[in-house]
């Protein structure tokens, strides 16, 4: 099939950036979206032009490295997908596709379709963990966790940290990402002692990074490649307000 690609080109953070249009022939329906871009890049290099820079690594929808906006939708039109697992058979001959990087105040531009997501790092470092000193753990089966509870934790732990939630939120909020981590650890008995501190620290870091507020658009949930639920946001808010109201320590309450 034949495609018209309108791609955001920007040399670095200081460059203004602009759209460039490319025509691509002979796209096979077996290709993944990134393989299609590989082909485009090979052509550009051979012609003496600079290839389009885009982030990617595992190409298996698990590392969270890839991601850009296709025709206004983060990771493209297929639900629960990343661009590396988006397949060309879901497009038609003659399609016109506009490719843009994640656009959010908290994600500065790096180049072309690549942005700087280090704000996520700083939020996770602020407290998104359980402090478990190596060597001090009790026997694994001494902590019993009902199956549904472990599965619920895993549903949130599946977040790949790609940033699609931020990119698709009209406010540029990172609540789904932060909520996912808080819910993952909050569902587990091991996560209880630091639950209040974690919520306070992560929310404070998030606000400092310049992410927007949540006004319930829910577009984050709709584009999340792992289908992470906005219930995580509710859990985050609850933990945060309880922590603020009642101070640190164990928040108690069964989930």
């Amino acid at each position: 099939m034949k495609l018209t690609l309108e791609i955001w080109r920007q040399k670095d953070a200081n460059d203004k950036g602009h759209f460039e249009t490319y025509e691509l022939d002979n796209v096979s329906s077996h290709m993944s979206f990134l393989e299609m871009l590989d082909v485009l890049n090979q052509e550009l290099i051979e012609k003496g032009e600079e290839p389009v820079a885009f982030d990617h690594d595992c190409r298996e929808a698990i590392c969270g490295t890839c991601g850009f906006v296709i025709n206004g939708v983060a990771h493209g039109h297929m639900k629960r997908n990343t661009v590396c697992q988006l397949h060309m058979r879901t497009f038609k001959d003659g399609d016109h596709l506009v490719l843009e990087p994640w656009r959010a105040k908290a994600f500065p531009m790096v180049r072309d379709l690549i942005v700087d997501r280090s704000a996520f790092e700083r939020i996770q470092r602020a407290g998104g963990y359980i402090s478990a000193r190596t060597g001090s753990a009790p026997d694994a089966n001494s902590i019993l966790i009902p199956k549904e509870q472990a599965e619920a934790a895993l549903d949130f732990a599946e977040c790949i940290g790609c940033g699609a939630c931020v990119a698709s939120c009209p406010n540029g909020a990172a609540m789904l990402f932060v909520g996912a981590r808080i819910a993952h650890l909050g569902f587990l008995p091991q996560g209880q002692p630091e639950r209040a501190e974690r919520a306070k620290a992560m929310v404070a870091a998030m606000e400092q990074e310049g992410f927007g507020a949540c006004t319930n658009y829910t577009s984050c949930e709709a584009t999340c490649p792992k289908g992470v639920s906005i219930v995580g946001i509710a859990k985050m808010n609850k933990d945060y307000f309880n922590a603020k109201l009642f101070g640190g320590g164990n928040l108690g309450g069964k989930e």
Binding site: I45, Q85, H87, E121, A140, N141, G161
Partner: protein, 637 residues
């Protein structure tokens, strides 16, 4: 070159305990004075950074991704082994050790493998404490599944995303140490070279992958935790950025390379679908718990799978290996898939594929149970192949997946360069000639969280570690070499892309140094790759400059190293005149076509020393001694 494995004396089961009891320690106040450089943030590197940070060392960790959490450990699917014996099915530390040694076809060190099995239980405890949501029974106890090469159920898992969950556990521990001020992480930073001063590893040269700036970092020890080099085959289950460059550049500075040709071709990946293909996607080995592997009995049978009646199907693994059936180790499963395809019985558009069929399991257990076990893998398969594996059998074919070979290390995980340690998939130590499923995650976490914190102290405590002068000649030279190397690539301005060369090399390697090897084929490969390498250095086209983000330049550097590594792999495969594990030499097989080992002449590790740019490398041997296991012909029948 002296190869001292430094294996502690005493009974196998006591070695590690005794070692820990007598090893030199560094006082808490002094640890702070020592900087440790860790390249890689996967399970091995991330674990090491967290654990050493907890101990109070000053740690700097580096990765090429934009987050430590994206290291390729994230992609591991199936699970992690431990000898917990929670199933009461007869598992012990010795049995896990034995299965691993046997699975590796008796080409690994007893002491290292035993230590790995011993630590396995602590790992599971630690991961649960970190908040890893492993699969559980309704009772709340941990669940297990079975993996290849074992007759017990000892694999812990989190759906088909075990690696992701384990890495997030390690990453969280790492973050706690960053927050505590003990660890600095440098993302999008690629190691270009190793700084060796007075014969000791003292630093690394890195490139900031956004600004292109080349700079150096210094420390009292360097840990390479950079993963495997399966991408030498171009198509593999590795992430696109996985590379052998950190290892290769350390090799050129004096770190010996052990068993470079020992690679694992995993039996269950999605077959290649076209020439544009950029990588191969794994379908976890755990699927063989419930999936049955078959091909049509007749060559050239083109009927769709559901129209081929039972008695015209060949469940060849069950037929040839009745006691292990579909759960034979990977090397055996892969080789048999290749054989049936070579016989013309392969399926799918390219005829390089076999079926993995879940019909019986679905009938027995119901769709819900299968969905619960493998839901995300089935989804991934459907996404890629546009076929529903609940309805039609999966098509699979072997794919390069793991490298057992790596830099040589002693019991302390130190390479032949003092102060340079190698952890995880990057070293050679625990898996011999074939790795059993669910044992790489175990090794990464063992090396990072539990081994290095105990073995590094010895080196730090006993040495002097004077401060490095950042302007000394040695540092200047290595930095300049690294810059020149990149500039040379940019200056070629030829006509062919980096990918063109990488693909061409990969095809030669897969054909001649893959699932089956022969002297003739290896000679041919060495010659062809040598020519291709020359052509690369004369005609590759790397656009852009070194002073900005340049993904083609990154790739070009990696591929340049892969040429040399590929040749070393072929030399190593040619040198080893026997078949063992994943190394199958056509000339050395039993009458039934199984691998024929030669314990008399090849019960050793081949350790290669770099002798200079245009010199042939020199092969050394570390003899393997087996005190606790009897070397038998591996049989899974």
């Amino acid at each position: 070159m002296k190869l001292e494995a430094k294996i502690p004396s005493g009974p196998l089961a006591d070695k590690w305990t005794e070692y820990k009891a007598h090893t030199a320690l560094v006082s808490p106040a002094n640890k702070r004075k020592h900087t440790i450089l860790i390249v890689g943030t996967g399970l091995a590197g991330g674990g090491a950074a967290a654990a050493l940070g907890e101990l109070g060392y000053k740690v700097k960790a580096f990765c090429y991704q934009d987050s430590a959490r994206r290291a390729h450990s994230i992609a591991a699917q199936g699970g992690i082994n431990a000898a917990k014996n929670y199933q009461n099915d007869g598992d012990t530390v010795f049995r896990l050790f034995y299965d691993t040694i046997k699975g590796g076809d008796f080409r690994a060190r007893e002491a290292n493998t035993y230590r790995l099995a011993e630590i396995s239980n602590e790992i599971i405890d630690q991961c649960v404490a970190q908040g890893v949501p492993f699969g559980r029974e309704y009772s709340g106890y941990l669940a297990n599944r079975t993996f290849g090469g074992a007759q017990v159920s000892r694999t812990f898992y989190a759906r088909g995303e075990t690696g992701q969950q384990l890495l997030l556990g390690a990453y969280n521990s790492l973050n706690a140490q960053v927050n505590a001020g003990n660890v600095d992480v440098f993302e999008r930073t690629e190691m270009l070279d190793l700084i060796v001063i007075d014969g000791v590893a003292r630093g690394i040269v890195v490139r900031d992958m956004v600004s292109g700036e080349v700079s150096s970092h210094f420390g009292d020890a360097v840990l390479l935790c950079t993963g495997g080099y399966s991408n030498v085959f171009f198509l593999s289950t590795s992430a696109k950025g996985c590379n052998g460059s950190a290892l290769w550049r350390a090799y050129k500075r004096g770190a010996a390379f052990a068993n470079p040709s020992f690679t694992q071709i995993h039996p269950t990946a999605i077959p290649q679908s076209g020439d544009f293909q950029s990588k191969l996607t794994l379908m976890s080995e755990s699927l063989r718990n419930d999936g049955r592997v078959w091909v049509p009995k007749k060559a050239g049978d083109d009927r769709p799978p559901n129209q081929i009646p039972e008695d015209e199907r060949d469940y060849y693994l069950e037929r040839i290996y009745p006691s292990f059936g579909n759960m034979v180790p990977r090397d055996v499963a892969s080789r048999n898939a290749k054989n049936v395809c070579d016989e013309g019985r392969g399926i799918g558009p390219t005829k390089r594929g076999v079926y993995l069929d879940f019909a019986v399991a679905i009938e027995r257990l119901g769709v819900d149970v299968i969905k619960d076990r493998y839901g995300n893998l089935f989804e991934m398969y459907e996404m890629i192949n546009d076929e529903d594996p609940y309805e039609t059998p999966m098509m699979i074919y072997p794919a390069p997946h793991y490298t057992m070979g790596g830099l040589w290390v002693d019991y302390d995980l130190m390479s032949t360069i003092p102060g340079l340690f190698v952890l995880g998939e990057a070293n050679f130590s625990d898996h011999g000639a074939n790795r059993l499923g669910a044992s790489a995650l175990m090794q990464g976490l063992a090396d990072g969280f539990f081994v290095i914190p105990n073995t590094l102290g010895q080196y730090i405590a006993k040495g002097k570690h004077p401060e490095v002068d950042p302007n000394c000649d040695e540092v200047r030279k290595v930095e300049q070499d690294a810059k020149d190397f990149n500039q040379k690539l940019l200056d070629i301005k030829g006509s062919k892309t980096v990918d063109y060369f990488h693909r061409a090399m990969g095809m030669i390697m897969l054909d001649k140094c893959g699932m089956a090897r022969s002297k003739e084929g290896l000679n041919e490969a060495i010659e062809k790759i040598g020519k291709l390498k020359e052509e690369f250095w004369a005609d590759v086209k790397v656009p852009g400059t070194g002073e900005s983000l340049n993904q083609e330049l990154e790739k070009a550097g990696r591929v340049a190293d892969y040429f040399d590594l590929a040749i070393l792999m072929c030399l190593d495969a040619r040198e080893r005149e026997e078949s063992c594990g994943g190394h199958f030499r056509e000339e050395h097989k039993t009458e039934e076509g199984e691998a024929r080992r030669d314990d008399e002449n090849f019960c050793h590790v081949t350790v290669w020393e770099h002798m200079g740019e245009d010199q042939a490398p020199q092969a050394h041997k570390e003899e393997l001694e087996f005190e606790y296991v009897e070397l038998t012909q591996r049989s899974y029948k």
